[in-house]
């Protein structure tokens, strides 16, 4: 066995130095375009299903994405929870049939009262946005899934 079998190949030290530099390098090209690329990405419209609303003068639709964002914004200020996921299921004629809200609960937070509050808040919000004060609570099930806990 040759004595220098374990020696690094020639040029390896310089290569390592060059790689270390590249790892921390930010291309000027990225700096120049970053704000524009972010804005363009955020302007893209997510495909989403429509949800039917009612108004005295007729029907309208709201995208599930807009509803999702509004539910998130509604619940975000509550320090007892963090919203993880919001899913809507619609049936015939885009009528809302189910809303699922998945949250992480703050550590030591009583869960049953929290679930009741979230359910009540989201149901009231959906009735308001969809223009149906009689939207039955039983028909629109707001399920709370506690999938994580966190320290507030």
């Amino acid at each position: 066995m040759a004595l220098n079998d374990d020696a690094p190949p020639p040029g390896a030290d310089l290569l390592d130095l060059a790689v270390a530099q590249l790892r921390t390098h930010t291309d000027a090209g990225w700096v120049a375009v970053a704000p524009r690329l972010l804005a363009s990405a955020l302007a893209a419209v997510r495909p989403t299903q429509p949800v039917r609303g009612r108004h005295p003068h007729g029907a309208y639709t709201v995208t599930a994405g807009a509803l999702r964002t509004s539910v998130r914004a509604l619940l975000d200020p509550d320090p007892r929870l963090r919203v993880r996921r919001v899913v809507f299921r619609t049936g015939h004629d885009d009528v809302l049939e189910e809303a699922l809200v998945e949250v992480s609960a703050a550590y030591l937070q009583p869960l049953a009262p929290l679930a009741a509050d979230v359910r009540r808040t989201v149901l009231h919000h959906l009735r308001d946005v969809l223009g149906d004060p009689d939207l039955p609570g039983a028909l629109v099930a707001v399920d709370l899934l506690v999938t994580d806990v966190h320290r507030p």
């Binding site: 040029g11 290569l15 060059a18 790689v19 990225w30 690329l37 363009s40 955020l42 998130r72 919001v86």
Partner: protein, 178 residues
């Protein structure tokens, strides 16, 4: 958590993700595509796909790996659209701070660093595209062999083999660089 928030329509959360990972995605794409414009287009496509697809993220890979998987797909599509004429990265500086020396900065050392990085960018052109992608993901972006394999939709063994060949080629190039 940021990606979950982005899936809920949180623009600020997505902006943080882009701030964290954007420079790496661009650095990767730029060294796989012929021009800065090609890299910009590929990163634009990747960020848009990430925003649109955030709801579909299921956590089977880390967020960084997931993003590099999307970026790899966008780079491959861009490379197929264009006749690949490799050109070295021509990066005049390091963003807004380019040309401004930090206090105590040694201009000779700064020049050496820039030359060394430029030499590496030129040496990378000696690698075939798949080897270059593997080397960039593992050596520069710090992905594990498994994560690189996931992002590139290839096997762990293929990543290991490509990396060995890439290291050998690049070391030989730098042996001649003095």
């Amino acid at each position: 958590m940021l990606l979950e928030r982005a899936a809920l329509g949180d623009h600020a959360a997505f902006a943080v993700l882009v701030e964290r990972h954007g420079p790496s995605l661009y650095r990767y794409a730029r060294r796989l595509l012929p021009s800065a414009q090609d890299a910009e287009d590929a990163v634009q496509d990747a960020l848009t796909a990430a925003w649109l697809g955030a709801e579909g993220y299921r956590g089977d890979a880390g967020v960084r790996t997931w993003l590099f998987g999307i970026q790899t797909n966008c780079v491959r599509r861009a490379a197929r659209r264009r006749a690949h004429v490799p050109s070295p990265v021509d990066d005049p500086g390091e963003g807004p701070a380019a040309g401004r020396a930090a206090p105590g900065d040694d201009p000779v050392e700064r020049l050496l660093v820039t030359d060394l990085r430029a030499a590496l960018d030129r040496a990378l052109l000696d690698l075939p595209g798949p080897q270059r992608a593997v080397w960039l993901l593992v050596e520069v972006e710090g992905l594990s062999y498994a994560d690189a394999a996931h992002a590139l939709r290839t096997s762990h063994a293929a990543v290991r083999g490509a990396l060995e060949r890439a290291r050998h080629t690049l070391s030989r190039r730098f042996a001649a660089w003095r």
